[in-house]
Assembly symmetry: C3
Homo-oligomer: 425 residues x 3
């Protein structure tokens, strides 16, 4: 056996296992979202996650990957690698192209799953499928090319985003914001008398399982992004990931104890996730102390952003924008402040690297936010020319589970029903 | 440190981690099945999975492994390795025999868990324990010996089945069919007026968690079957696994949208699983495009097979035969069509390899199906000579949870009950 | 690339992945406990697990790790490594200190999560946070130093505890016992007429998911404790872990079939866990046969211990003491009986090693039990001087979810509520 064979085997094992961990995060998204929404829509949101993972993988295989990681054309877009064919040698990978695709596929599925929470309880299923195809085949791959592909224009300018606070979370979060605004709030969410109404999550234990699964997957997400098992940063990445999530969660518990006079469970869950999102860009670049700070700020600002969005009458049922959009933005900018010298081309502002890195991070963030928001808005507008993007009032009131998918999430029937009542064929 | 030590360490880590992933699939089976059946039987089906994993491991350790992988006797059966003792050097493994046993143990537990879904809501718990012992100690190990052990007669003929579409899924699926027919349908499933009755799944979010966990574990199942971390096929295996499951799921969503005028959630779940089952035999041998095709065909045929079984008045509560038996058969035969030259001794029919591989795959599949169906039928018939295999009508109507295990799956009691009502000692 | 780089990369991958598996066990604890308690307290117990993982990680990072693994002072306590700074070279690790911290952090979080089950349904949230800080920053690290740190006095005497039957489970279990006694039983648990009352678990499928996740994580827990991927014992460790859990579960199923005339689902779950706890100390030191025996004894004694505790009117809602305290004790002592020559400095009693190892194991166990019980009692007594440790009668009756956290675990509302009813700010 050759040296290279063992080394490549190790890298392959690392990437395949972490990719599987990231794919398991889809289970986490499904449960988190199903637990947060009302019972009558729990199945419909899980069906969206099945769309994310199935259509997402096929679209990214056909076109998305090529546009993102194919041979660069003008810093704007990739041009080879459709159906994993063509020349991909410019990627200079130690692992096979196949293996690399699987890891990247797990990423694209995460992006679209961010949006699925924001459109919960009111989007039409057909419209969601079309949007998912556009997101995974076009919107994300092109932005991802700019940030992560050799030759991408933001990458060339020096933007750094280790595992995707910008490319994944801010993009997904701003897309989620656009979708939530475009669709409008759920019926009854904001009363005609100006009051804000709320429902308690239908199944908090289920939402918590989701959070724990996401937490687990994030170790694959961040550490796996080294793509190499001999990268000496792996341990540090895992530790900053742990510390930021712990501080995001702990601070949200303390902050809501002060602010609401109770430790708020949904905020504790989202606080852990906010910390994870916040550290995703800088996990390999910042110190332990900075990770704790980034997590804490991400958690608290997430709470405030959730409140602000509510006051603005934007209805984001699971807090997708506050968790992914806002914390992703914080994480992207934090690299510009806290990057330790030697880990990136320019150190962060607080480490004597000057304003350069912070500037390019801010530029990249703004570009990604506008791109994600704008393209999502346009896609929904285009879909609406042909088909409704929102379910009918009746379907929304009865719930999408029975209204669209013909089956409730939870059934306490002890006897049988006639088959015709479930299958309308 | 020696070369061999590092290489063996890497292989060991790979096999132990993927074995743990496969064992986690038991959690997936438990949730999928508990979510699909009625509330009143959710605990009883989970108890069957606890039987699978606990009795299964002990029986396979004592005898099953020896009959399957012990030194070959006449191509029919293994003869060494009881309690992991005796000579096992013929296995020529890079990892320890211990580690190999753990991986194979995870497989046998999966086989018996396939059957547990088909007998849900009506089998007697004692009878199930006996059947589980026979399945894990005799039925599966002997069939597995034929297909996978050095010297097994189907292996010698050239049958290939990378991770077990035939040895695991078709065997389990046909055993499930026999069990479902032998036990007969649940009371009320098929009305006296000839109508087919149905209940909506009691907990679809739980069933979905199960599916996501199974999906995750399958990456261990298929990729781990290399047993070596330096096998260059690992990346390809993981990718074909991903593509087939995505296409099985996506096609089932689209197909049910056309056929039932709604995207059917249980079919989307089973579609993903059908794709995974279908690619299990060929994941290392077929191209990406073939994987997508195999997944799509497995998904759609699974839907049709479910309907056909229902018309034939066979009651398989979770679709075990349609998912595992049918898709496992498709996957086994597909290798005979799509095996890429160089990956197997004979290439598939569509790659100029002629009919040979397809013929031996078909023979092997037929043997496994008859063996699984026949032995399961005989085992149930033998059990019934001593003890009932089906619960009483009263127990079935009240549900097996309270009827057999004395405790409901879900309790909304806020106060305490007298201990005597739960423990009958 | 250097030899060392590849070897260190392999060890790092192994430790990071197994650490992530152990952290996922928090999801398992949360679900197991939420499923076992009443609906009205399901969220509150999950919030405790969020405290465990978030406060636990931060406290262990700040101080706990240093007291446990810092440079030894007098065999009693560590003195370097606060905030992961200072000299840690005495640890002589192949992996980075960072990576080692992550793995140990996953352990400390497990310890505190053991206690969270025993105090369920009645502890005040603020008091729990304070206790969690003391446990993860002081009680566990000091006991852990004695057993596991180079120079710790029990380690020097020859105590062996591979992955923590004593250091983790007996410590956590006896702490749980102290907490359960200190807090007193839940209102209504033991009737005024001397009768013992019980509630069925609120969500057994959820509890089962928890058990399967814990089972999965345990392979990381035990095998990962090698800290080295080239440790030839990894396969054996995983196999003894599997066998002990299988035999604990199988024996509990059979034993309750005999004793209660029904296979008891909560006991089957706890039986698997008891087997896992029991083998944790000896997984690397005992034979397969001994592992099966240890698992069986752990399972059966766990059932008897649960009954005994109930007769003594101690209210431990999830069986934390029976599972962790008792099985952890059995496992610790079992090493003194069954340690195979060559695996430890002195072999076990049954292998001709004489009484020495058994004696030191018994001493270490007694020390850990007294330490865990005593310090926990003192901590609760100290907290009560300032704040109540138990919720008010009204809060307990209405449930901690609504009473303390302002939100129910499960909501079937289909419409919206006024926001003011959920947030009291």
């Amino acid at each position: 056996m050759e040296w290279a064979e063992l080394s490549q085997g190790l890298d392959t094992v690392w990437v395949v296992l972490t990719a599987a961990m990231i794919l398991l995060m889809e289970g986490g998204f499904a449960l988190l979202e199903a637990g947060f929404v009302r019972q009558k829509n729990a199945v419909s949101i899980i069906m969206k996650v099945f769309v994310d993972i199935s259509f997402g993988a096929l679209v990214y295989y056909s076109a998305g990957f090529a546009l993102m990681y194919g041979k660069d054309a003008g810093g704007i877009i990739g041009s080879t690698g459709f159906f994993m064919g063509g020349d991909l040698t410019h990627l200079k990978l130690s692992i096979s192209h196949d293996t690399y695709w699987l890891f990247q596929c797990a990423f694209v599925i995460a992006v679209i799953s961010i949006v699925s929470g924001a459109v919960a309880e009111r989007i039409h299923f057909r419209a969601y499928i079309v949007y998912a195809i556009v997101m995974t085949g076009l919107i994300y791959p092109i932005a991802g090319h700019w940030i992560w592909s050799p030759g991408g224009w933001l990458a060339e300018m020096g933007m750094v985003d280790f595992a995707g606070s910008a490319a994944i979370h801010a993009l997904g979060g701003f897309a989620a914001l656009a979708a939530a605004i475009y669709l409008g709030p759920r019926i009854g969410r904001f009363g005609e008398d100006g009051r804000t109404n709320i429902v308690p999550p239908s199944n908090l234990p289920l939402a918590s399982v989701g959070a724990f699964i996401l937490w687990f997957g994030w170790f694959g997400f961040n550490s796996g992004s080294t793509l190499s098992a001999t990268n000496p940063a792996i341990g540090h990445i895992a530790v900053t990931t742990m510390l930021a999530s712990a501080s995001g969660c702990a601070l949200c518990i303390l902050f809501t104890m002060l602010r609401y006079r109770k430790a708020d469970p949904p905020m504790a869950i989202n606080g852990a996730l906010a910390g994870l999102v916040g550290i995703t860009a800088g996990c390999a670049y910042v110190s332990d102390a900075a990770a704790i700070l980034i997590g804490a700020v991400s958690g608290i600002v997430m709470v405030l952003a959730s409140e602000w969005l509510e006051r603005r009458k934007v209805d984001d049922p699971v807090g997708a924008f506050a968790v992914h959009g806002i914390s992703g933005s914080i994480g992207t900018l934090a690299v510009g402040l806290f990057a330790v010298p030697g880990t990136t081309a320019h150190a962060g502002l607080f480490y004597g690297g000057g304003w350069q890195l912070l500037g390019v991070q801010a530029l990249g963030l703004a570009v990604v936010a506008v791109w994600g928001f704008g393209l999502t808005w346009c896609t929904f507008a285009a879909i609406r020319r042909f088909k409704p993007v929102r379910v009918s009032r009746d379907e929304e009131l009865i719930g999408l589970d029975v209204g669209i998918h013909g089956v409730p999430a939870y059934s306490q029937e002890h006897d049988f029903l006639d088959v015709g009542s479930l299958r309308r064929n």
